[in-house]
């Protein structure tokens, strides 16, 4: 009962969740205790520090073949993308430009995220069909194409949390909003100094779908 201190006031129940390491009581007696097998089957996430990384390994050298087999049709032989499917590598140095190219190697801050996403969602339409080793191989191949690791580097659950991605320091926290000039709820109401020149029309760009 250290986890939950309860105060009953009339018919209402006010509950405080205290920070203690002691297990709390169940309140409603609903639901079932999950077995470790049940949790293991669904708990597939991998965190930046490597927490959750499944046992396995692979190199870029061995990853080229599986990449060509299950990834290249949409993402290109060298991760350059195809049609509207996104490129996976390239775009280094483009983030501050007019046309930033956000790829796994130019933008993604953590190698763990690449593993986590490929394992849970790829190949598109055949989620969770790759083995752990195949996933490590594909991630290694992408990192190799992005000049982040060597071709024979053995990527594994032991070291995926130590890979330094080029854009690891590219993200800003915390959220600075509201980030605009604060008019304290009293913006200009009359004769406001604003430009009312029309500098662009969506109609002229002509990319709006039309009803059939």
């Amino acid at each position: 009962m250290l986890g939950l201190a309860r105060c009953i006031l009339g018919f209402s129940l006010i509950i405080f969740i205290a920070n203690t390491a002691t297990a709390s009581d169940r309140k409603f007696n609903l639901g079932q205790i999950a077995s470790s097998e049940e949790v293991a089957g669904w708990d597939i996430d991998v965190r930046p520090d490597g927490f959750g990384a499944p046992i396995g390994s692979g190199t870029a050298f061995s990853g080229e073949e599986i990449y060509a087999e299950v990834c290249a049709a949409c993402h290109g032989d060298f991760g350059e993308g195809a049609d509207r499917w996104p490129p996976l590598v390239g775009g280094e140095g483009s983030l501050a430009s007019h046309d930033p190219e956000k790829t796994t190697t130019s933008y993604w801050p953590f190698a763990s995220t690449i593993f986590d996403y490929i394992y849970r969602a790829m190949p598109y339409g055949e989620a969770q069909s790759l083995s752990y080793d195949e996933t490590y191989e594909i991630v290694a191949y992408l990192l190799y194409m992005g000049d982040i690791i060597e071709e024979d580097f053995v990527l594994s659950d032991k070291n995926i949390g130590e890979i330094e991605m080029p854009n690891k320091d590219g993200f800003l926290l915390p959220d600075p909003r509201p980030d605009i000039v604060n008019t304290h709820g009293n913006p200009c109401m009359t004769n406001c100094q604003v430009s009312t020149n029309i500098i662009g029309k969506a109609r002229d760009i002509d990319v709006t779908p039309e009803d059939e």
């Binding site: 709390s24 609903l30 969602a121 989620a127 993200f171 913006p187 662009g200």
Partner: protein, 429 residues
């Protein structure tokens, strides 16, 4: 004799009309009904002093449509997508037709869709919600279990962080639906996560929750524990009925006021941990790239925003005289306090009427009557929320964030009303 002839004619017409309806529905043309033919011209035979057929003859009985659908004349009120935006319809988005809606409730079938691996089809008997990680007890709940917890019923808007994302560099899409339609507003029924956690207990080190969907994208987002305990819900119903499949049937996460991507659909698991998980969606997507090349991360709240839904590019002005300008406003930080409207591109503003109910983190309806005498107008609306945040112009946002953010464009839009009554999405500068 005259009467008989009239009856013959009417019967003939009636058969034709029925054939037309059956024919249309059998080829699935309902949603593609040509709106101009349906709405532009009245049939003089149905107008006074004549009697229309529906006044004389019986219509359909009960149970013709066991689940009722909108009138056949409303076939233009549909979700629409922009095909060139995405590579595949299973990982894509469509838009709510805000310009055709009234009040604040979005009908379930019109709530915009955003999927990353298509719509999962789940028998509710096969639904399980797993809670694991830094809890006292790792547990699994059925849908029936969830429905036995204390219940909450709340209206909330859900807006995609990329709503208006195509408009950062200029006016690109010519429609209220395409520029503002990644938002909807329904009443959710569900269980508060703060109640669910009473069953599992919580370890002291638990600071973050990974919410995970069971769809083929395995959608995942990290959410701080303070938000989870504040107002997050596992919902199984919207607007009084079960969630629609495309909205996460049988259960989804509701994260009031925060970006729609976090509202994980087809929810299967909540993992409590001591650090954020840095999933694909919160690193490579839903981060806001600035001109410096650095990107803001964890920008969850949806700032105050408003839009004039009529007149709008889809709702031209058809006659001179009195009109009711209509619009919607919302804020992820609380209630809408005020909405101002300008007809001269932001030089002068009038305060619009807010219609009850005005709810926290919900769409709010505003109207303003105006006279139109055929002159050009530059229509704008500006929302102010209860924190006194004022909806910004696009140039205010661009000065701070540049044009590559994609997400969180909550700027004021401008509709140009031309002398012929047509309405265009334009950019002022």
């Amino acid at each position: 004799m005259k009467k008989n002839k009239k009856k013959e004619l009417s019967t003939f017409k009636k058969i034709n009309r029925r054939d037309l309806i059956i024919g249309a529905s059998s080829i699935g043309a309902f949603s593609l009904a040509p709106k101009k033919l349906l709405s532009e011209e009245a049939n003089p035979e149905n107008l006074p002093p004549n009697l229309p057929e529906w006044t004389q003859y019986l219509g359909d009985g009960v149970d013709v449509n066991p689940y009722g659908m909108p009138s056949e004349f409303e076939g233009h009120v549909i979700r629409r997508n922009v095909e060139w935006l995405t590579a595949s319809a299973e990982s894509s988005v469509n838009f709510t037709p805000l310009q055709d809606l009234e009040g604040i409730v979005t009908p379930n079938g019109l709530c915009f869709e955003r999927h990353h691996g298509g719509v999962s089809v789940i028998n509710p008997q096969d639904f399980r919600l797993m809670i694991n990680g830094l809890v006292d007890r790792e547990m699994i709940f059925t849908l029936d279990d969830l429905k036995r917890f204390p219940q909450t019923n709340k209206f909330y808007f859900l807006e995609c962080a990329a709503n208006g994302g195509m408009e950062w560099r200029g006016s690109q899409l010519n429609g209220c639906q395409y520029t503002f339609g990644m938002v909807h507003n329904v009443q959710y029924t569900g269980v508060k996560l703060s109640d669910l956690i009473l069953e599992t207990g919580l370890k002291e080190k638990a600071k973050w929750v990974l919410a995970e969907g069971s769809d083929s994208s395995g959608m995942t987002r990290s959410i701080p524990i303070e938000k989870i305990l504040d107002d997050c819900i596992i919902a199984w119903a919207m607007n009084g009925e079960a969630l629609r499949p495309e909205q996460g049937y049988p259960a989804r996460l509701v994260v009031p006021g925060w970006e729609g991507n976090m509202w994980v659909k087809w929810i299967r698991r909540l993992e409590f941990g001591d650090k954020p998980y840095m999933t694909r969606e919160e690193t490579s997507k839903y981060t806001d790239l600035l001109t410096s090349g650095k990107a803001r991360m964890f920008t969850w709240v949806m700032d105050a925003k408003s839009v004039i839904t009529s007149p709008s590019p889809e709702k031209p002005i058809l006659a001179k005289g009195l009109h009711q300008l209509r619009g919607l406003a919302w804020s992820g930080r609380g209630k809408i306090k005020r909405v101002d409207v300008s007809i001269d591109g932001g030089k002068n503003w009038k305060t619009a009427q807010l219609h009850s109910p005005v709810l926290s983190k919900s769409l709010t309806r505003f109207t303003l009557p105006f006279e139109w005498n055929g002159e050009e107008l530059l229509l704008q609306s500006r929302a102010i929320d209860e924190t006194n945040y004022v909806q910004p112009t696009i140039s205010e946002l661009q000065k701070i964030r540049g044009v590559n953010s994609i997400y969180h464009n909550n700027s004021i839009a401008t509709w140009l009303v031309s002398k012929n009554g047509k309405v265009d999405n334009v950019r002022l500068g």
